[in-house]
């Protein structure tokens, strides 16, 4: 592999961050495995032993990732655009935070609009109306007809009376 451009610098910085994350996750599992009461019974293996084992493997994989990152340059990665990511994650975040207040239909409209914006849609009135229509349709089919319990808010109260 030949280093290509800025991403091809050696060593691969991203690998160290990933490695650190894996070691941290592994350490958490090892700690949890040692903390909980380990009733081993006849098996000689209790509820704490598998987390302990998985944890150590994760630590080992983390160290392996760091070692590979040290030896090999990272592959060239496509440039990532931050704005669409923020639209999407922002839309998800707002929806998660508010859906129990505003209900499924409005939450769906917010999410739909933000997701469409992330993919380049700029005609917001149309997107919002489509989101509302989709939300209403899904609520009607899945909550009213299929009895899946979806969060209800003012709009659901008004239209479906629940």
């Amino acid at each position: 592999m030949t280093p290509q451009g800025a991403q091809g610098r050696r060593p691969d910085g991203a690998a160290f961050v990933i490695a650190a994350g894996l070691v941290a996750l592994g350490a958490l599992l090892v700690w949890e495995g040692g903390r909980i009461p380990n009733k081993q019974g006849y098996a000689g293996v209790g509820p704490g032993d598998v987390p302990w084992l998985v944890g150590w493997v994760l630590v080992a994989l983390g160290l392996g990732t760091a070692w590979q990152g040290w030896r090999n340059p990272g592959p060239p990665r496509p440039k990532q655009q931050a704005v669409p990511l923020l639209w999407l994650l922002g839309g998800m975040g707002v929806m998660v935070a508010t859906i129990h207040w505003i209900g499924f239909v409005l939450g769906a409209a917010i999410l739909f609009t933000c997701a469409a914006a992330a993919f380049g849609e700029r005609r917001f009135p149309r997107a919002i109306l489509s989101g509302l229509a989709l939300g209403l349709f899904i609520y009607l089919v899945f909550d009213v007809l299929l009895q899946l319990n979806l969060p209800a808010g003012p709009i659901e109260m008004l239209i479906f009376g629940r």
Binding site: G41, F119, G131
Partner: protein, 505 residues
């Protein structure tokens, strides 16, 4: 009763009006998600898990299987007309299929894909029906240690054997296994990794993880590449049918694709992607028209499309007879069985023969439905490809959150959805495969139970795991599947493995 009798009984179940309706819904949904880029059968089945909770178990499972089969049919349409695979098992089809469409031969390409899928699906489903009872007999001698060894083999083949790096595959798998540990230990009732948060006691929901990884992660990744450069949808020119010459060149490729796809699907050796890749390589070596390969050879569409359908049927062999999923879709279907309190395996053939045989027979019915949906009605599906990208992904995400809201509408669960979605995005960005996470989450608790049972039977002697010949052979195979690809990669032969390692559905 023999297999034939059971199959006839199954057909009687499959022809009940409600079952026909479930199968039809399944194949229509499956074709749609196969056609649409960005969503595949694994995600769709996961989304439907909460919806089907209150419905008929047999009908729901028939629907899930229809989605799986339909996805394999629909994916080819997108590959051929858009040069973007609709789902991962159709990556190979794009190579020759899109070239054919560009040369004005989109009609024959779609026809050979649909008819090849039908032929392969039919043969492979019959093979499934006649093979399954024998595997069940074999599986009856399996104890906990054999099951544990089998799961280790599945773990290795799903994560490390294919793809561009064993390390990355194993990282994905162990992230899945770590997530599987969250919640109450099934053998002792001990809470693990829940940190006092009551919502975590139930563990990580399959739907949440699958939706986050497949839908949200994919959407984030596609969005971050910026606006679509625009591969235009190619119009279908001429009729969707084949000439005599096309038939003559296709039929052997279909049969070879089936012969390759079914065994690959039925062994814990990865899924439809690998089968379609191997079939393409075979056709390329055997063809009488080598000059056409890379420019639109019909064998290069016929073989892989037959292979991925045969592999989808093959995947159901270990799933139904052993309860062992070998692909992400099969893993989520297993979660579907468990949701109804059914555990696939030898016992299911004894305790619920009507359900199992009804399911197998329905696959034959679904295949016929799919042929009709994909040949005369193909132009309708092409319209789906004209949905603008922003609206498509907006809709996908709304449906995706619906899945999680349906299982558990708590803020904790929704926060997990966002976190795992971000994780899925980062894993895509840095080249980590997604399927092993899902397989690890679903198979992890089962493997742990079997391991601890096996050790309990042997009073804690770890040597028991290799003292039965079957278990020893399976663990040996797992070791080979782990080490051999590493040697190949070290010798610079890893590119072949990397190409087949896109397994997601």
């Amino acid at each position: 009763m023999d297999t034939f009798g059971f199959l006839m009984q199954g057909l009687a179940t499959a022809f009940e009006p409600m079952m026909l309706l479930y199968a039809l819904i399944g194949v229509v949904l499956g074709t749609a998600v196969g056609v649409l880029p960005g969503i595949g059968p694994a995600l769709t089945v996961a989304l439907l898990l909460p919806v089907t909770y209150g419905l008929d178990p047999a009908g729901s499972l028939i629907m899930f299987a229809g989605i799986y089969y339909g996805g394999m049919y629909g994916g080819s349409t997108t590959s051929i007309l858009l040069n973007t695979p609709g789902e991962s098992a159709s990556v190979i089809t794009a190579l020759e299929g899109n070239k054919m469409a560009r040369a004005g031969r989109g009609g024959p390409a779609l026809a050979t894909a649909a008819i090849g899928s039908f032929v392969a699906g039919l043969i492979a489903t019959l093979l499934l029906a006649f093979l399954a009872p024998h595997v069940v007999k074999l599986a009856l001698v399996f104890g906990p240690r054999e099951y544990f060894a089998l799961m280790v083999l599945a773990f290795v083949t799903v994560s490390a054997a294919f793809g561009d790096s064993a390390l990355k595959g194993l990282v994905s798998l162990f992230i899945g296994l770590a997530l599987a540990l969250v919640g109450i230990d099934q053998l002792t009732g001990q809470a693990r990794l829940s940190f006092g948060v009551p919502q975590l006691l139930d563990g990580v929901e399959v739907t949440t993880l699958a939706v986050a990884m497949f839908a949200l992660g994919e959407a984030l990744f596609v969005a971050a590449q910026g606006p679509d450069g625009g591969n235009g949808v190619l119009a279908i020119k001429g009729k969707v049918q084949m000439t005599a010459a096309d038939w003559a060149r296709s039929w052997k490729a279909w049969l070879r694709g089936t012969a390759i796809g079914f065994p690959i699907g039925s062994m814990p050796a990865g899924g439809a992607d690998i089968a379609s890749f191997l079939s393409y390589a075979t056709e390329r070596n055997l063809t009488k028209h080598p000059e056409e390969f890379g420019k639109g050879a019909i064998e290069g569409v016929a073989g892989p499309e037959a292979a991925n359908n045969a592999a989808a049927a093959g995947t159901l062999v270990p799933l139904l007879t052993l309860g062992l999923p070998t692909t992400a879709t099969a893993a989520i279907m297993l979660a579907g069985f468990q949701q109804f309190g059914l555990q696939p395996g030898p016992l299911l053939f004894a305790s619920a023969p009507q359900l199992v045989w009804g399911l197998i027979a329905s696959l034959l019915v679904a295949n016929v439905m799919l042929l009709v949906l994909n040949l005369p009605l193909i132009r309708f599906w092409v319209l789906l490809l004209r949905i603008p990208q922003p609206w498509l992904y907006g809709g996908i995400l709304v449906f995706a959150t619906l899945g999680t809201l349906g299982v558990n509408p708590s803020v904790v669960e929704l926060t997990m959805l966002v976190l795992f979605g971000t994780l899925g995005y980062l894993m895509r960005l840095y080249g980590y495969p997604i399927a092993p996470v899902v397989v690890g989450l679903i198979l992890g608790p089962m493997a742990e139970q079997q391991l601890r049972r096996a050790l309990a039977i042997a009073q804690g002697d770890p040597l028991t795991l290799v003292q039965s010949p079957v278990a020893a052979v399976l663990l040996g195979l797992a070791a080979v599947a782990l080490i051999l690809p590493m040697i190949l990669r070290a010798r610079g032969r890893g590119d072949v493995l990397a190409q087949v390692g896109t397994a997601e559905d």
